[in-house]
């Protein structure tokens, strides 16, 4: 189990960009919380269809209740990381869980930093 996690971490850590681009080259995720979030996203993607279908059976007024109870148990048996509710939209650069603007996937501090250096296209200091 620990070995599997380690292998996963190594694979995740080997995220080297193929093309030589100027600027930062990040070969690791910022922290372990970010890595766990990445894992959750992957597993949620895999089980998304199944969850949708089982939920369709559960949230139903036509099918018999016994069937719905069975579906309840089934969905509870799926891996915990497969539910999309556990995904947290963290900042991509700093892994900050709060104050993240969805459009840029950046936390407010990083966003402000780049916007002031004119590296965010279309962002301007508001003045009215």
């Amino acid at each position: 189990m620990a070995v599997a996690a380690l292998c996963w971490a190594l694979r995740a850590a080997r995220q080297v960009l193929p093309s030589p681009c100027p600027g930062q080259v990040r070969s690791y995720y910022v922290d372990w919380r970010m890595l766990r979030d990445v894992k959750r996203r992957k597993i949620a993607y895999e089980y998304a269809d199944e969850r949708l279908r089982i939920n369709a059976i559960r949230k139903n007024s036509i099918l018999p209740k016994e069937l719905q109870e069975v579906a309840d148990k089934e969905i509870a048996a799926l891996p915990r990381d497969s539910c999309p509710v556990r995904i947290r939209n963290r900042c991509v650069l700093t892994s900050r869980p709060r104050g993240v603007k969805r459009r840029w996937r950046l936390s407010r501090i990083v966003l402000r930093h780049f916007a002031d250096h004119a590296q965010m296209s279309g962002i301007q200091r508001a003045m009215w």
């Binding site: 269809d49 279908r53 059976i57 139903n60 036509i62 099918l63 018999p64 016994e66 069937l67 069975v70």
Partner: protein, 330 residues
């Protein structure tokens, strides 16, 4: 039979025949039937610049005729693969007959022409056998020798055939024939001489075989990568930068195509009318009701492909079949 085989070989060796030989051969083949038919056959044919195609056609028709006429059906088939080792020395009696018929039809020394035609036939079969073995260069030399030495009967044959055709063909074709004959007789250098073997298939095939074996080595790939990295100069202006980005896939292609990457070949009716997939379900009861709702929802969904929708329905089918025992309790 040997004649059929020799004719087949002749087809392949036709490209190496010089024109006067071809003309003489045509005469023999045409004259197998009485002279009238010979003239008809020659007159019916259109005069082409290259005698080779003609010869091929004639040989093909000859083959068919001979195959039909031959009574030794199974023997001929059996002797075809063995015929490779057969020598052309015992000439086919039909060929001999053809040669004698041609000689008789010609106005000049019959015996001399007949002997010369037979000799040419023999040499021709020898050359085809040699070519079968693969010694193309020797045949070249042989043919070149033949054209230089044996000009007179060949020339005579050409003139006679020209005369025969001149009587029957139109003016335009006659002029063409003269031009082509002059070309072939005066400029001997065209077809005479050693071949350089630049464009022959046999020499290029082993190279290809070698290449495919040695291409996927790691060092070659690395070298290719290095070369690409060195030659890829940084973009000089914004246009080149945009080109580079488009190649990498960062930038979309303009004018923007909304359906890039989306290859849905299914018609609209396959998306909407999904009732036919509901055949595995019971016709009445809550399950049917539920599945009809599912289908209604799927038909309104523009984001899924037909395949995904079908998979969706099949998943439900499997699920309900697994729960059949439970359902029957209810």
């Amino acid at each position: 039979t040997s004649s059929v085989l020799s004719k087949d070989k002749d087809k392949s060796a036709v490209s190496k025949d010089s024109s006067p030989e071809g003309a003489a051969k045509r005469q023999e083949d045409g004259a197998e039937t009485p002279k009238q038919k010979l003239l008809d056959v020659i007159g019916g044919m259109k005069v082409e610049v290259s005698y080779r195609k003609k010869l091929q056609q004639l040989k093909a028709s000859e083959n068919k005729k001979q195959a039909m006429n031959k009574l030794e059906g199974p023997d001929s088939e059996g002797s075809v693969p063995q015929g490779i080792t057969e020598r052309g020395k015992p000439l086919n009696p039909e060929l001999v007959k053809a040669a004698s018929a041609v000689a008789s039809s010609l106005p000049r020394d019959k015996k001399q022409t007949e002997s010369e035609l037979l000799a040419q036939l023999r040499r021709h079969e020898e050359t085809t056998d040699k070519q079968k073995k693969g010694r193309t260069i020797n045949i070249r030399n042989v043919i070149s020798e033949m054209t230089i030495k044996r000009q007179s009967p060949a020339q005579r044959g050409v003139r006679i055939s020209g005369r025969i055709s001149l009587q029957l063909d139109e003016d335009g074709q006659r002029i063409r024939r003269e031009r082509s004959s002059a070309q072939s007789m005066d400029s001997r250098s065209l077809k005479v001489g050693k071949r350089l073997n630049i464009f022959t298939k046999a020499s290029t095939e082993p190279e290809h075989a070698l290449k495919t074996v040695s291409s996927p080595t790691i060092w070659d790939l690395e070298f290719a990568k290095e070369v690409a990295a060195v030659t890829a100069q940084p973009p000089r202006n914004g246009f080149e930068e945009m080109i580079q980005w488009t190649k990498e896939g960062i930038l979309w292609e303009f004018p923007i195509d909304n359906e890039v990457g989306m290859e849905d070949d299914a018609e609209f009716h396959e998306h909407i009318f999904l009732d036919k997939h509901l055949e595995g379900f019971p016709k009445e009861g809550p399950i049917r009701h539920f599945m009809e709702l599912v289908i209604c929802g799927l038909s309104k969904n523009p984001y899924l492909s037909v395949k995904q929708k079908v998979e969706h329905i099949e998943w439900f089918q499997n699920y309900f079949e697994e729960k059949k025992e439970l359902l029957q309790e209810i």
